[in-house]
């Protein structure tokens, strides 16, 4: 059975002026459906770049990425945007919620791209918010929520259109210990109970413990793969 994500000989080179920086070097990787994978490595190792490529935010210089049987490295920008809308949910370190919208409206954002009616959008958003345990905060704006709460709203937004893949870039990087635990527990729940495939970049080994696999990257190449028993 083929993996959900198949990465073959993936390379990414940035050209800044005259400089050529090779950030990823012939990376080879398979991610199975239902996996919860942590990507670790020192700063500059290329982990965020790899994440961005898997999530379809950027295109590789060389190699291929196949997600759910589709070669996303070949897609045009417009098609990639459509692909992202139905296949990927993003969670960022600094939440990236729209400050002028309420929590519910933030969660509804991805649904604006679908043909659902206003009532349906509202319903789906409510479901997502309940999943992350923030139903009573639905009307609040991000400015009125704590860091942990904002990140959970971001997670609700990421899952509201039921994407194939959840891509998280340092999701607990800006949170205190307790909030981080809440968020990671939630991610684990989504993975175990709802079968979401999650790829998480983190520099915190304690966060990585919540994942099923950890991958180490150094200077653009995979160094180590560790399987761990779920915590």
């Amino acid at each position: 059975m083929s993996a959900l994500v198949e990465i073959r000989s993936l390379s990414k080179i940035y050209e800044r002026g005259k400089q050529r920086i090779e950030v990823l070097h012939h990376v080879q990787l398979d991610i199975e459906q239902g996996d919860f994978m942590a990507l670790m490595g020192p700063s500059g190792s290329g982990k965020t770049t790899l994440l961005n490529l898997i999530g379809g935010l950027d295109s590789p210089t060389d190699g291929s990425i196949t997600v759910g049987g589709q070669r996303i490295d070949r897609l045009s920008e417009g098609t990639l945007a459509k692909w992202r809308a139905s296949n990927v949910g993003f969670v960022f370190q600094f939440y990236n919620l729209l400050p002028m919208l309420s929590a519910r409206k933030n969660v509804e954002l991805p649904l604006l791209l679908t043909r659902l009616s206003a009532a349906q959008r509202k319903r789906n958003a409510a479901v997502a918010l309940e999943l992350v345990g923030l139903t009573d905060r639905a009307a609040h704006k991000p400015g009125e929520l704590s860091g942990g709460q904002q990140q959970r709203v971001a997670i609700a937004r990421a899952i509201v259109s039921d994407p194939t893949l959840l891509v998280c870039d340092e999701p607990t990087g800006d949170l205190d210990r307790q909030s981080a635990v809440d968020v990671l527990t939630l991610l684990q729940q989504l993975n175990r109970d709802h079968g979401k495939t999650i790829i998480m970049v983190t520099h915190d080994p304690k966060a990585a413990e919540y994942a099923r696999h950890t991958l180490q990257l150094d200077k653009g190449s995979l160094v180590e793969q560790t399987e761990q028993a779920p915590a």
């Binding site: 992202r84 960022f92 729209l98 002028m100 954002l109 937004r157």
Partner: protein, 387 residues
């Protein structure tokens, strides 16, 4: 529109900035409403509907010169002429030069040629029968609190009476109303009997200021005009016959090229507005690059982002502009109520709104173009990283 809320909240991200920008846009379109109102008043002077089947005959040299009354039977005899009347400018003053309103000496059948002014049959008869009778418009009567039966004294500026005095007194026997409520400004005239005028004036007797004629068929207008003018070629009273529209247009055109002046001012206004608003939009979009990047990660296409920014820009201008035009409408109505025809202004109606909204959309698109392009072209990865 489901994206409307997104756009709306984006606009009000910085309340102060948006409100100040709205006020700038408001000012620009307030001005547009006022100036376009004046401009169309001058342009429309040439195209008022009622004047279409009426022709005016004045002295070819200038309407300030008179024509002999003896022309009347010859004009009446021309084929295609249904009715003819005549009038003289009197130019009298009521109490104070500041109270200026037009006053004319007219023939008995004058009102037959102006059906858009309603005068009851009884009042028409009274006018015909009363030597010193006068008919005024309802708005004028209201302004000076005149009632039927009042005596109205006018000081002559041009025509003294034979006895040397300047005082002419008339008896108010009729009040006319404009049939079209939008043309109430035409109710500011006073008319009195030409026969009395000609009998009592010290000079110029037997001469009229101008003739007004109605043709039997509009298609004959050109022909009739030419035939009429031919009656006086090479005489000492050469005539020029044209439609009322053409006459008004030529008269107004002598004041200056109003269209050009208004156009130049509005050009300056919109140029500075575009710069001002363009800068604000650019600033606003710059601040929101990370948010636009997030939208793209969610799956909004490049073109959707372009559309969102453009829509925001157009909406901003439409909002400010619409309020400005509404305000202009209020001001114009107030000015027209206060000074009547002293300052020619049309109501801020459908035509001005249409032009205004068109301009708003155009300016919104121009102002939003560059920021929208910037938003469309942002690279997600760079924008999220803050580069």
């Amino acid at each position: 529109m489901k994206y409307l809320q997104l756009i709306w909240t984006a606009m009000f991200r910085s309340k102060t900035r948006t409100i100040f920008t709205l006020l700038s846009v408001l000012a620009a379109f307030l001005l547009f409403g006022l100036l376009d109102s004046v401009r169309s008043a001058f342009a429309n002077a040439a195209t008022s509907v009622a004047g279409v089947d009426r022709l005016m005959t004045v002295s070819k040299i200038s309407f300030t010169l008179s024509l002999p009354k003896s022309l009347l039977p010859r004009i009446e005899a021309l084929p295609g002429v249904a009715k003819v009347t005549y009038a003289n400018w009197f130019g009298g003053i009521y109490q104070d030069p500041k109270n200026f309103f037009p006053n004319e000496a007219v023939a008995d059948n004058f009102f037959d040629l102006y059906p858009e002014w309603r005068l009851s049959q009884a009042e028409r008869t009274a006018f015909g029968n009363t030597r010193t009778g006068a008919v005024v418009g309802e708005s004028l009567a209201k302004k000076f609190h005149w009632k039927l039966g009042d005596k109205i004294p006018l000081q002559a500026t041009i025509y003294p009476q034979k006895n040397g005095g300047n005082n002419w007194t008339f008896d108010l026997v009729g009040i006319y109303r404009a049939a079209d409520p939008k043309r109430k400004s035409e109710e500011n005239l006073l008319f009195f009997n030409w026969d009395y005028f000609d009998e009592a004036r010290a000079f110029g007797n037997g001469n009229v200021g101008w003739y007004v004629l109605k043709v039997t068929d509009r298609k004959l207008a050109q022909q009739v005009a030419q035939a009429l003018d031919a009656l006086s070629t090479n005489s000492d009273h050469e005539t020029k016959t044209q439609t009322e529209q053409a006459f008004n247009a030529a008269f107004v055109g002598q004041y200056g090229d109003i269209g050009l002046i208004v156009g130049a001012i509005m050009g300056a206004v919109f140029f500075t507005l575009i710069l001002l608003t363009g800068n604000t939009m650019a600033q606003a979009v710059r601040e929101r690059i990370p948010e636009l990047a997030v939208l793209k990660t969610i799956g909004f296409s490049n073109h959707s982002v372009l559309g969102l920014v453009l829509a925001e820009s157009v909406l901003l201008i439409l909002l400010g502009g619409a309020i400005g035009l509404v305000l202009a409408g209020v001001v114009v109505d107030a000015v027209r109520a206060a000074v009547g025809t002293a300052v020619p202004m049309t109501r801020v109606g459908a035509a001005i709104w249409l032009r205004g909204v068109g301009l708003m959309i155009l300016i919104g698109l121009i102002v939003g173009a560059l920021p929208a392009r910037r938003g469309m072209r942002l690279r997600i990865v760079d924008a999220l990283a803050g580069r």
